[in-house]
Each structure stands twice: as structure tokens, then as C-alpha cells.
């Protein structure tokens, strides 16, 4: 039971990040290495608002998430928009530079110390033999709710329709009167806001540190590729699969925790060898 809980928590965090990553990939066709940095920014911003500005942690989070979303849009406007149509390699290297700069901005402002949110320590609840804290239950519930909202947005709104159309064929979407640049902005906003949410959840679960975004980059990419790059539902499934794989590997197969990223990497290599298009194939939004 403990394995299931731990896996679900991990999957919730990975899933939120993987969905954002895969959406940006789907529209702009490049692997955004700066994506997980927004998780770090989100966590630190919420921390700033709650412990320095005196807001409650939850209010701080609610403000931080859209702010990070806007930051994502801004980043696209200032940097990535100028490189539309460049080779994916150029975009990847650029995103790496962005991630390096942003991560160190955080480090310059807040230092490298490990911090944590000012929340009371909850006692774990015993459910069917596994321990889980109310915060952790909250993390899983929030991730599921957000994914459902995302699904409704994608399929039952005009915006979702134009997002799917743009993903399918940019020129066709433009010809049908969809402002694709606006759609791209919305996708950046949602993607980076999701990342911020994931970062805050990770911070609530454990701690906040400048490396947290970078440390999770390999599992997030593995989950994304596992589900098929560009496929948000695949990304969710990939995150779930990876969450379980990591925790089962550590608990049942006694893989040393130090090698946790190696599990993600092993699965990544395996998937790339067997099914490069991921378990759900390439289907776009």
C-alpha cells in the first residue's frame, strides 16, 4: 500500500510537469529543457509570498501559479518567438541557456539552502497499512482535478478546439481563422502554470531548493517520452507508469535510492529501443 501511495504522489508531480512539457513540444516541436525550471520558480515564488509577504501558503500558491504562467508567456515572447521555425536543436540549446540562467537567478536571490513551506507537520494517516499525510492526499487530489479540468478544456471549449487544431496542422488552423500565436501563448501559460503547481506541490511534500527543477528533468522527460512526445494523455499515463516503476524498483527490487534517476533512464532507453513513439503513440493534443 505504501508503494501505491508513494507512486501516486510521484506520478502527480511528474504528470503535471510532463503534460506541460508535452504540450509545448507538440505545438513548437522542440524539447524545452527549461520547463522544469518553472517548477522551481513557482515553489520559490509561493515561498516568497507566504513567508516573506505574510500570506497563507495556499493564497501564495494561488497567486504564484498564474504569475509563473505569465512568465512563461513572456519568455516565449522575448526568446522563443524569435526562433520560430529554427531547427529544434537551436531551440533546445537556447532552452538550456534559459534554464541555466533562471536557475541561477533563483540561487542568486535565495541562495542554495534547502527551505520548506511554513505548514504544520501532519501526522500520517494509516490507510490499509500505508501511511499518507493529508498534504499528500491533497497533492494526488489536486493533480487529478487539474487533469480533469484540462481534459474538459481541451475537448469542450472553443479554446481547446483551436489548441487541437493548431497541434494538428498550423497552416490549416491559421487558414480557418485561428490565431495560432495566441494559442501558442495559451499553451505556454498553461504549461508553465502546471509546472509551477507541480513545483509547489513538491515543495509542500518535501522541500524547496534551487536544484529541484533540474533534478526532476530526467524523470519528467522519461514520462513524456514513455507516453509519446506531444501526447498529453500519454504523458499522464507515462508519469503514472514511471511513478510506480521508481517506487517498485526501490522497494521490491532493492535498487539503492541513489540510483532512482537510473530507473527513469533505464525505462527511457528501453522505450526508445522498443517503441520510440511511446506507449500511446504520437497523437498530439
Amino acid at each position: 500500500m505504501q508503494v501505491i501511495f508513494n507512486s501516486l504522489i510521484r506520478a502527480a508531480e511528474l504528470g503535471l510537469l510532463a503534460v506541460g512539457l508535452t504540450m509545448v513540444y507538440d505545438l513548437l516541436k522542440f524539447a524545452n529543457f527549461s520547463h522544469t525550471t518553472f517548477a522551481t520558480i513557482g515553489a520559490y515564488l509561493a515561498l516568497l509570498l507566504s513567508s516573506n509577504a505574510g500570506l497563507s501558503v495556499y493564497l501564495g500558491a494561488i497567486i504564484a501559479i498564474p504569475v509563473v504562467g505569465l512568465l512563461g508567456v513572456l519568455l516565449d515572447k522575448v526568446v522563443f518567438k524569435r526562433l520560430r521555425g529554427s531547427s529544434p536543436v537551436i531551440l533546445m540549446i537556447t532552452s538550456f541557456g534559459v534554464s541555466l540562467a533562471l536557475r541561477n537567478v533563483i540561487r542568486a536571490i535565495w541562495g542554495s539552502d534547502i527551505r520548506s513551506f511554513d505548514i504544520p507537520l501532519y501526522r500520517g494517516i494509516n490507510i490499509l497499512g500505508g501511511m499518507i499525510t493529508p498534504i499528500q492526499i491533497g497533492i494526488i487530489v489536486i493533480a487529478i482535478v487539474v487533469m480533469i479540468i484540462f481534459h474538459i478544456l481541451l475537448h469542450n471549449t472553443r479554446l481547446g478546439k483551436s489548441m487541437r487544431a493548431t497541434s494538428d496542422n498550423v497552416s490549416l488552423a491559421q487558414a480557418s481563422g485561428i490565431e495560432t500565436e495566441k494559442v501558442i501563448q495559451v499553451v505556454w501559460f498553461i504549461g508553465t502554470a502546471f509546472a509551477a503547481l507541480a513545483g509547489i506541490l513538491m515543495g509542500l511534500d518535501t522541500q524547496v531548493q534551487p536544484r529541484m527543477g533540474f533534478d526532476i528533468i530526467i524523470p519528467v522527460f522519461s514520462a513524456t517520452i514513455l507516453g509519446g512526445l506531444g501526447n498529453p494523455y500519454g504523458a499522464m499515463l507515462g508519469a503514472l507508469a514511471l511513478g510506480f516503476a521508481e517506487n517498485i524498483g526501490i522497494t521490491w527490487f532493492n535498487i539503492p535510492t541513489g540510483y532512482k534517476p537510473a530507473i527513469a533512464f533505464g525505462i527511457l532507453i528501453l522505450i526508445l529501443l522498443v517503441r520510440p513513439s511511446g506507449i500511446m503513440g504520437k497523437k498530439g493534443l
Binding site: F30, A31, F33, V79, R82, L83, P88, V89, I90, M92, I93, T94, F96, G97, V98, S99, L100, A101, L102, R103, N104, V105, R107, A108, G111, S112, F214, I217, I218, F221, S222, I225, L229, P256, G258, Y259, P261, A262, A264, F265, L268, I269, L272, L273, P276
Partner: protein, 313 residues
């Protein structure tokens, strides 16, 4: 340590990173392989040579040869599962592979026995070669010469390779797999060999590094090193060997000179370290945005001349 010695130190670092940027440039600039895990070769070379010399008791040169071989083998190994991948998958796979290599050295302390050594503690007291014959006060210049020789060898060899039929196939692969495939070239094998050759030289750089600084730990080989080398390649000019060395010099000079900034500006050393990294990140972004050809453009004109000659024949 006088100013001259400090310049020699910077020179050595430029030489070592110059080899790294030459080899990364060979992978990306010539073959089009987006290697985001270049530091893995550096780490393997450094540890390989250190262990050979310290545990195996071999000579420094044997250690370097070991570093060369280990780097080369790792280049081939990493190509096996990933050789046919598209560039974005390749980038992720290499990034992950480098992290695994680092984790190996963090977790596996047994490779070099003793309490509080190896693993996260690192290995200290790595012997400097020929330090018993060369007087201490000129040793740093001797090592500078040594590094310069290896840099020159790497440069000449990679330059030579890029003008051979082998090198031309690599450049064709860079522009897309289809054309070389249509000409009956085994793209996979060429990519693997490109990784093997450049990996071997990058391993050599690792060996030179370890015996120079005499202390290595997994913290020397974090992903950040890879991006510093990337900054060198893009600043110098992608696909140009002289550019790669020039880029290494510029980034390293910037990196070394800003270290003393804290003596003049009220800033603590931790913040300064972050600010330097911000500058490197911004440098990569700015070069990609406004100056993609970098300092020295790739020489493409000679192909035009050759084509003319061919058409006249």
C-alpha cells in the same frame, strides 16, 4: 602565486576545455549529434586515469591512454541504444547517461578503497606526472606545455578527420540522415564512430584535468560543465575547430577573470558564482538569438570550389 603563474593556470584550463569543446564540436558541429552529456566522458577519463595511476600503480601516460580508451568505449556504448534516435531524444538520452555516470561515482565508493575517500568525498592526492624531475616553480609551465601538446594533437587529428571522406560523410549526416543513407552509408556506424573518437579525446581531457587539479569528486562533473562547453562551442562558431578553441578561451577567460570581481564589487562569492552562471546562460541564449554563426564561421566555401572543379572535369 604570481600573475604569470595564474595566467599559466588559465592557459591550462583553456587547453583542457579546448579539447572538450573541440570534441563536442566534432559531435555537434560536424556530425549533428546533440550531446547534452559531454561531461560523462570528462568524468570517465578523470576517474579512469586516476584509478589506473593510484590503484593500478601505472605511469601517468598509461593512465592517459586508459582515459582515452574508456572515453572511446563509452562513446561507442552510448551510441548503441541511441544511435538511430532523432536529435531531441538523443539530447535527453545523453543528458540522462551523464547523470547516471555521475551517480555511479557518487554511490560506488568501493572503486577506490578507504574511509572518507571516493564516493561523494572524492579522491585526493592524485599524483602530478614527472613532479620529481621538474622543479616545483616551473612545474605549472611544464604542465601548460603538456596540455598544449595534447590540444594540438586533438586539433590536428580532428581537423584531419573532417577533411577525409569519413569526415565528409559525418557532415552529410549532420544535414539529415536521408542523403547518406541513399548513398549506401551506414549512418548508425558513422555516428557511433564519431562518438567513439570524440569521446576518446574528451576522456583524455578528463585525465589531464585529474592530474592537474589532483583532487576530483563527483561535484566536478555536474551537468553544468556540459553547458559551459556548449557555451564555448556556440560562441566560437559551430562547425569550426579554431572557433571551438577560441570559444573555450573566451568563456574560460571570462570565467576566470570574474572570479576576482568580488574584490572590487560588494558581492559574496556564492552570489558571484550564480551571477557568473547567469551570464553563461544568457550568453548561450544571446548567441542563439542574434549570432548563430558565432565568432568564426564554418568554412563552407571550399566545397563550392571543389564542386566547381568536379563540374569542370
Amino acid at each position: 602565486m604570481g600573475i604569470v603563474n595564474y595566467l599559466a593556470h588559465i592557459g591550462i584550463m583553456i587547453g583542457i576545455y579546448g579539447i572538450l569543446s573541440l570534441t563536442l564540436n566534432f559531435q555537434y558541429g560536424f556530425t549533428g549529434l546533440v550531446n547534452f552529456g559531454h561531461v560523462a566522458f570528462f568524468a570517465l577519463g578523470a576517474y579512469g586515469s586516476t584509478l589506473l595511476v593510484m590503484s593500478g600503480g601505472t605511469h601517468f601516460l598509461v593512465g592517459l591512454i586508459g582515459a582515452f580508451i574508456i572515453g572511446g568505449i563509452f562513446g561507442l556504448i552510448i551510441s548503441l541504444p541511441t544511435g538511430n534516435l532523432k536529435e531531441d531524444y538523443w539530447a535527453i538520452a545523453t543528458l540522462a547517461a551523464a547523470e547516471i555516470v555521475r551517480l555511479f561515482f557518487v554511490n560506488e565508493g568501493w572503486i577506490y578503497g578507504g574511509p572518507y575517500v571516493a564516493g561523494p568525498f572524492g579522491i585526493r592526492g592524485i599524483p602530478s606526472p614527472w613532479s620529481n624531475v621538474i622543479p616545483t616553480d616551473v612545474y605549472i609551465f611544464f604542465y601548460l606545455g603538456l596540455v598544449a601538446i595534447f590540444l594540438l594533437i586533438t586539433y590536428l587529428f580532428l581537423n584531419f578527420l573532417s577533411n577525409t571522406p569519413f569526415g565528409r560523410v559525418l557532415k552529410a549526416i549532420r544535414e539529415g540522415d536521408d542523403l547518406p543513407k541513399a548513398l549506401g552509408k551506414n549512418v548508425f556506424s558513422f555516428k557511433a564512430r564519431s562518438m567513439g573518437i570524440s569521446g576518446a579525446f574528451a576522456g583524455l581531457a578528463g585525465g589531464l584535468f585529474a592530474h592537474y587539479v589532483s583532487f576530483i569528486s563527483p561535484y566536478n562533473f555536474q551537468a553544468i560543465e556540459t553547458f559551459i562547453v556548449w557555451a564555448m562551442v556556440v560562441v566560437g562558431g559551430i562547425g569550426n575547430n579554431r572557433g571551438a578553441i577560441a570559444g573555450a578561451a573566451i568563456v574560460q577567460l571570462f570565467y576566470s577573470s570574474t572570479r576576482f570581481l568580488k574584490d572590487y564589487v560588494p558581492i559574496d562569492s556564492k552570489t558571484l558564482a550564480s551571477v557568473r552562471m547567469i551570464a553563461i546562460g544568457l550568453l548561450i541564449v544571446l548567441v542563439m538569438l542574434f549570432w548563430q554563426e558565432g565568432l568564426i564561421k564554418e568554412k563552407k566555401s571550399e566545397y563550392k570550389n571543389k564542386l566547381k572543379r568536379v563540374s569542370h572535369d
